[in-house]
Amino acid sequence: MPITHDGLKKELQYIAKPFELNHIKSLFNDSDPLMHEMAHNLIIGNQHEVDRLTRKALDSGFSANTILDDGLISGMAIVGIKFRDNFIFVPEVLVAARAMKAGMAHIEPILSASGVKPIGTIIMGTVKGDLHDIGKNLCIMMLRGSGFTVHDLGVDTTSDTFIEAVSEHKADILGMSALLTTTMPNMGKTIDAFEEIGLRYEVKIMVGGAPLTQEFADDMGADGYGKDAISCVELAKTFVGIQQLNE
């Protein structure tokens, strides 16, 4: 059905490349107006509306596959284009991701009931003394999008909090972020804390953040280092045996 939703039509104006515009239009021309409304609300980051519309769609008999493809992912595709072309920036991307999470909260039980389990459980946090979270939040967005369950501990996270969360959620992976050279050592202290209580080899530990290097990660005993968000996802997948690095 051609797009009639005014908000979504306005979003298409941001797509300058004709082949991209035609592709996006073709996605929406085959989908229901409810999906157009859902995609628009995801793009503008209205998580409450995405939540409501996802519930409405499921109650109306739309399949989880259709909602995921035509409402959520199609909306995220436009977010990606707007971000690439500098119409929006990282904060808007994260707000859209939060809206997607609101929709996925209704899809995940259906996935689980169909035997599609999360590919792993990850605890993520910025270390003690550090309040920077943008990189961590981008990693979390992409990890969830890849099928991981992620528990976000936020910023200024102590070693004890990391340990409690890993134990409580039986996490496969712990991801720590630091943006300051002064807080980077707290990553090593957290790894030491895991060793002291005998939990070090129960969990894979990955680290990331602008001042970090592979060498630093190796020196402090981390299992891996992600230089950017997509590397973080690929590393996490290798930890749970999904893929080999450099494939």
């Binding site: 971000f83 690439r84 920036f89 990282v90 259906i110 599609v116 943008i134």
Partner: protein, 80 residues
């Protein structure tokens, strides 16, 4: 009627989402070289920490204005 997911279709969807995120990751790297990632499209600051580029003369419910000119290293302005 219990909903079921078409697993093959779901796998294709996740791969599509992964491609979108992979492109976003490249965009992040590119834009972060000149623009603070906490600065939104309305030039407001979304950081939960202080920064010398913040103009805090806004109403209590508003985000601070970001005065960075996107020309210099923004990280040096972050308060640590």
């Amino acid at each position: 009627m219990r909903q079921e997911v078409d697993r093959k279709s779901y796998k294709a969807s996740i791969e599509r989402l992964h491609d979108i995120f992979k492109d976003m990751s490249k965009s992040v790297e590119k834009v972060s070289s000149w623009r603070c990632p906490y600065k939104n499209a309305k030039d407001r600051c979304t950081a939960n920490f202080g920064c010398r580029n913040q103009d805090r003369s806004v109403s209590p419910d508003d985000l601070y204005v970001c005065n960075d000119n996107d020309q210099l290293d923004y990280r040096s302005a972050w308060e640590t």
